[in-house]
Symmetry: C2
Subunit: 393 residues, 2 copies
Amino acid sequence: MTPTASHFSPGLDGVVAARTAISDVDGHGGHLVVRGFAVEDVAPKVTFEEMVFLLWHDALPENGARDRFREDLVDHRQVEDHTLHLLKEAAARAVHPMDALRMTCASLVSRDTGPHKASAVAAAGQDALRLVAVFPVLVAAYHRLLHGLETVAPRSDLSQAANFLYMLRGEEAPESFVRALDTYWNTVADHGLNASTFTARVIVSTDSDVISAVTGAVGALKGRLHGGAPGPALNLVFEVGTADRAETVLREKLGRGERLMGFGHRVYRTRDPRADVLGTAAQRLFDEQGDREIYELARAVEACALDLLREHTPSRVLQTNVEFYTALVLHGLGFPASLFTPVFAAARVAGWTAHCLEQIAANRLFRPESMYVGARNRTWRPAGQRAVSEQRR
Amino acid sequence: MTPTASHFSPGLDGVVAARTAISDVDGHGGHLVVRGFAVEDVAPKVTFEEMVFLLWHDALPENGARDRFREDLVDHRQVEDHTLHLLKEAAARAVHPMDALRMTCASLVSRDTGPHKASAVAAAGQDALRLVAVFPVLVAAYHRLLHGLETVAPRSDLSQAANFLYMLRGEEAPESFVRALDTYWNTVADHGLNASTFTARVIVSTDSDVISAVTGAVGALKGRLHGGAPGPALNLVFEVGTADRAETVLREKLGRGERLMGFGHRVYRTRDPRADVLGTAAQRLFDEQGDREIYELARAVEACALDLLREHTPSRVLQTNVEFYTALVLHGLGFPASLFTPVFAAARVAGWTAHCLEQIAANRLFRPESMYVGARNRTWRPAGQRAVSEQRR
């Protein structure tokens, strides 16, 4: 069953691997639809808990369902002693925060109870709830441990975002911080069939459990090519340092053929609707509190970059992308760059689990073909009769 | 960029997702080629260490390289204290062996040192060595812990297979056992782009590390639909119980429309070359030692099943498959069914890592499309104005 070359799709580019009712990425039009809502209509207005409910249940909850769902998440917030021990042990070895998240995610055990469809679906729902509830707790606890601080126990009276900020800081955060984090998490909770989401669907398609699938997704998110990492955009702002240096620094970079991190997107060719949402969120956050100086600097760098990019590549519209404003929001919340990807994971776990539940509901094993391009007709010889030249290609 | 329906390939069936020089599954011809060798030519003749070398380096090693490679693997056999603690803690909770393997695999930390290609390739090679060396150690240690036994420290003078058997049993195994396990591991070390191998390639394609990729693969292998699990075939033999009951039991099953586990294969339509290799290995193992009675029973069940299947589905050739003989070999080695999938993982990790190294050498991010089939044009309303009927589709 060796397939012919004509079917080969490097990177599966252009291949549709799933039907989904979760989100629609329209890069040409510059739209992101999440469960029927334009992302800019819903992300700034709902709590993250409501967004998770929307992703899983295809509707926003009315008051009663919203409150029950919030309680369900709170009930799954506690971290067991053995998980905490694992985090402490990892911190003692100074393990990277994404590796620590992979380890602790993998250490959870699915509620999966067997091959029966009904119980598997129920177990998947329980696993999803557990993962979404516990991810920010794991991220906050590990961050403190890594910096030599005692962990802070979660509080059941706080929302997902407020509790995360509380566990990180050891004190309650201002409401403006909570709103900014809710908006960020809502904006990036799902984004079509990116590599980590695809990983989760492939794993769960073997009838494996949602814990295993999300562990794989965390591993995929770790990769530099995944996208969503806003660190480099912030580095650009820091590198410029003061507004008067922006044009010189950016012109030098463009002259050396470097990419300006924070501008342009692989998929969104005209406008990234998430950038609009987060640009507004950043402005509101820095208006109320935060390092006003870095905000002004970032906007000056942005204005200069957009001018130079128009001059440099007139044929292509390069807009400020989601990473640029994400960097501003997360910096405004006081997060160091080492927290950026883990905090992103605490949002995207909602999308991963939604995709797992959707995959389970109408499963088909992912089993693509490979095309063999290797050697043929070799025959075994005893070790003493093998040529040294055979050792490496 | 919403793609059209014509590109949708459910389960990526028939889509070629990778070029590979590692193995070629020819289901129609009944051939499995591993790095240019027919599996039946190489699997019974080499050690597992040689098979790993072949998978990674595209050639069998001559004497010197073989000895150095074996030492390299031995050097990576030790398990750190924190990993052992994790296994003990999992055993205390009676965690499933595949979950325990996922946890401990995830708890390893990649040698990955940064974005530079050369160091990334070197780190990937180190991670691969570590994973292949340590998987059987983790499986054996966990099996003993789960059964309330002290773990046995690995021995550096034993081969990969001999050390695994020693760590499981607490005493050296007969040479016939070592040869049978080598043959089994060699036979199933790689098999094209199955779901777990595909998972590993997708994860590593984000430029993530090999530990993360293999952790994802372990999660995918856990699924009931993955294939490779020989437990059900052995259950059939036990269910029959005595040879004289075979026809009655099997006829009843076929009459109820049940599948006879251990016969037929999704891909191999005529002959599964792996079944031939493992059938011979089982025969040799039981000739030398082992539960002769269960072997005779299994062969009687097999003969009866093949007769009945020819009668029942004359249009289709259903042969004894690899799972049937795997079950015999692993049972002959004294392994309980709970060890079957972990022992399979200890072989397939060689294939997973080979595919990771191949993917890294010519990487392209896997980023397929999804097709949106969900709601459109919803608008946000405050929670109090949402209909209860919106709650579920």
